[in-house]
């Protein structure tokens, strides 16, 4: 049996514990940024590479691949700490990086969600709050059906969806998500009407599709290569502007006279107010990296991504254009009506 310790002692100890940890928290925000004119063998401190999504996802894979290629190809001897700050549809990590103004030792992954999120979800920080560094790759969206589906071509699917609205079901990862924007474009271009069913993750959509619980879904090729190879899923069309080299028989939507073009981008941005020279340093280094054999085969080819390098200025322009296009699309789809 315990004797009664004084309440004061217990409180004091807990307080000490809390304070210790509290101090650890406050220290991260106080990281000073170095003086100007950095480059010339620049990284003299570890680089924090923030991934605003969970470990194991596409952005996580992207960031870890970059650090691994940079190291293995001897392009940089900087130390990278890949840090996942997931949650709030990317907003947790984005808010964290947005708060590190002028920090030259932080990088963050960028996906098209950095463009769409602020529009569809009213996220606080949009692409303008970050320093553009480079766009590195374009991810495609494939429209796929189960192997035993009655739909043999994309036209079959669209015709069925035109004939009777809301009968053909489309599994996706949430209205406002990229697959729903693709569907929105497709519906506008064809006058078809599909029944959109939201799931929580790409994996759940795949299971529903394989089990025949939904009729069709869109997916990044790398998520479903295993199923494509095994013949469990059948691609009907690709939403990009060119056929994929790995899937030469799969037509683009544009070829089929549907005015739809949807590609997802992957890139790297820095905190607001990063030194322009530092941004250029990374842009150049990443360009060099994208040209290596290792990046081309082990990342792009393996994940069926397109090489889509853009330097800082073109990258910023591209994000501005995308923002405009997305705003128009969201307006037409009525996604922002409820806000």
């Amino acid at each position: 049996m315990m004797t009664t310790p004084s309440k004061f002692r217990i409180w004091a100890m807990s307080l000490v514990a809390l304070l210790t940890v509290g101090m650890a928290f406050t220290s991260w925000s106080g990281q000073a940024s170095g003086a100007s004119q950095l480059p010339e063998n620049y990284p003299d401190q570890p680089i924090e590479f923030v991934v605003q999504y969970a470990p194991g996802g596409g952005s996580d894979n992207f960031a870890r691949m970059i650090t691994s290629v940079l190291a293995q190809e001897g392009l940089s001897d900087a130390t990278f700490n890949v840090v996942n700050r997931e949650g709030g549809s990317g907003s947790i990590g984005q808010a964290y990086v947005a708060g590190k103004a002028g920090d030259n030792y932080t990088l963050m992954t960028m996906t098209s969600a950095l463009v769409t999120g602020p529009i569809v979800l009213d996220l606080e920080h949009n692409y303008e709050d970050f320093t553009p560094i480079a766009r590195l790759a374009a991810d495609q969206l494939l429209i796929v059906v189960p192997a035993d589906s009655e739909f043999q071509t994309i036209e079959d699917l669209i015709e069925a969806a035109q004939a009777e609205p809301d009968v053909v079901s489309w599994g996706g990862t949430g209205l406002g998500g990229e697959d729903s924007l693709l569907l929105g474009q497709l519906e506008q271009a064809s006058g078809a009407n599909l029944n959109y069913i939201s799931f929580e993750s790409g994996g759940e959509v795949q299971v529903a599709l394989l089990g025949g619980h939904v009729d069709v879904a869109s997916s990044n090729p790398n998520e479903i290569i295993g199923q494509l190879e095994a013949g469990e899923l059948r691609p009907l069309a690709v939403a990009g502007d060119a056929r994929l080299t790995a899937l030469p028989d799969v037509p683009t939507l544009q070829e089929k006279e549907f005015d739809v073009l949807y590609q997802q981008a992957r890139g790297v941005v820095g905190p607001p107010g990063m030194d322009p020279e530092v941004a250029q340093y990374w842009a150049d280094l990443l360009k060099e990296m994208t040209e290596t054999e290792r990046w081309q085969t082990e990342y792009l080819e393996k994940n069926m991504l397109l090489d889509a390098y853009l330097g800082p200025e073109e990258f910023a322009e591209w994000m501005a254009e995308e923002t405009e296009a997305t705003e128009a699309l969201v307006e037409e789809m009525g996604l922002n009506e409820t806000s």
């Binding site: 049996m1 315990m2 009664t4 310790p5 309440k7 217990i10 100890m13 807990s14 514990a17 809390l18 210790t20 940890v21 928290f25 969970a54 470990p55 194991g56 894979n61 870890r64 691949m65 691994s68 890949v82 840090v83 996942n84 700050r85 949650g87 709030g88 549809s89 907003s91 947790i92 808010a95 979800l121 009213d122 996220l123 606080e124 209205l175 406002g176 729903s180 029944n195 069913i197 939201s198 799931f199 929580e200 993750s201 994996g203 759940e204 795949q206 299971v207 529903a208 089990g211 025949g212 619980h213 939904v214 295993g226 199923q227 190879e229 095994a230 393996k302 994940n303 996604l335 409820t338």
Partner: protein, 512 residues
Amino acid sequence: MDLLQNLANGFSVALTPTNIFFAFVGVLAGQIIGVLPGIGSVVGISLLLPLTFGMDPTSAIIMLAGIYYGSQYGGTITSVLINMPGEAATVATTLDGYQMARQGRAAKALGIATIGSFIAGTFGVVVVTLLSPTLAEFALRFGPPEYFALILLGFTAIGAVAGSSLVKGLTSVTVGLLISTIGLDIMSGRPRFTFGEDWLLSGFSFIVVAIGVFGIGEALDGMMTPAGHPIIRTSLSWRESLPSAAEWIRSRGAIVRGGLVGTLVGVLPGAGSTLASFMAYSVERNASKHPEEFGKGAIEGVAAPESANNAASASAMIPLLTLGVPGSGTTAVLLGGFLLWGLRPGPLLFTQHPEFAWGLIASMYIGNVMLVVLNIFANPIFAAMLWIPYAIQVAFVVLFAVVGAYSLSNNPFDVVVMIAFGVLGFAMKRLDYSAAGLILGLVLGPLAEKSLRQSLTLSRGDWSIFFERPVSAVLMVLAIAVLLWPLVRKALIRRAGLPGAGDDVQYTGGEE
């Protein structure tokens, strides 16, 4: 024959000294990671993933999978000793495990958890070995209506976790359900109850709430109790940690049923070991001859959920290996690892990389043996932590809770949320509301809402979708039957009892 050949090849891969070494590193790391609250297997595996870059993929997956199921063993320890679940899947274990610890039976609770985990975990691996393709087919038959019916069945656990008063139990569950509505509305994609705060978009993290309500709530309660918190010191004899003959007889059914429930539910992507552990707990209470002991230190109440979560962690590998689809947060990280090592999980994995797939399966047998040996010896040592004076213990509980909440996603808000829920947990404890009920609502709420709305969108508003499909219809009928069973039983007792006994009338009246 083919199967035995494959498994033998798998063992020849897994039994090389290198792979035995990595399996041991994995289960040991998993054990430690499981003990640290908040740092669950997801965070643990993602921390170690970069280290596997240069490794042979088979050794890497053997190590990482070891972390995964090892953490299921480790997560039990804090649930039992300090009422703080280290993993979502061990919340159900706190219900009886912590009560056992307070009665001086901490080592015993850990012992039965270890034995149950080993038996059910190995059973899960046997199922993975023999029935992977069949169970993958089974998982694919689960569409939104089937999930909804299954989760409805999960809600029958309310009776098991409600505590002394059904009204208070239901209130707790409802509060949990309400909390679960905060965040992005999955169907419309719009933020709900976030008050414009971006950090609320993903809602309250389940484990942060659990650490707060259980760990901090209990710590506050202990500090506010003038006489300290009487915990009877557990005997540290090694023999004491093993169940007696009578306890073994009580537990063995729980282990078998828990293993079965865990294996089946674990196969379903998105449902996972947390649902499995709650369902197993509920099944056990319904099956028990003395349900009144549940929540007061019943040994089956520890054996059932612990068996279920380990079986589930084994069978969760099935969708990953056969379909290439992650069934849980942890297997999603493993999938990320596969891609980094240049392997493509999916239907062809077993034919294209048999040494990898079968090596992994074989290593899971070995890892489970390592874990049972490790734990049987370590349990009394862990139980000895309760010998530390309570004042010091409680400071460490708070420290662990804060570090755990923060490290989950490196977000300081989580610490604030955790402490706020700690205060709520303390109030609930004092007012006799069920903290486990709140957690149940929080876990099952989003799953139920999602699958209900998906089903009704698919059927365009027609409720008959739940009864037209065979699997869903069976589960629905089962769920309704289990939900109504107490009422039916009451009616039966009343009918049988009315003619004479006043006791029965009083009994039925007492529960209204």
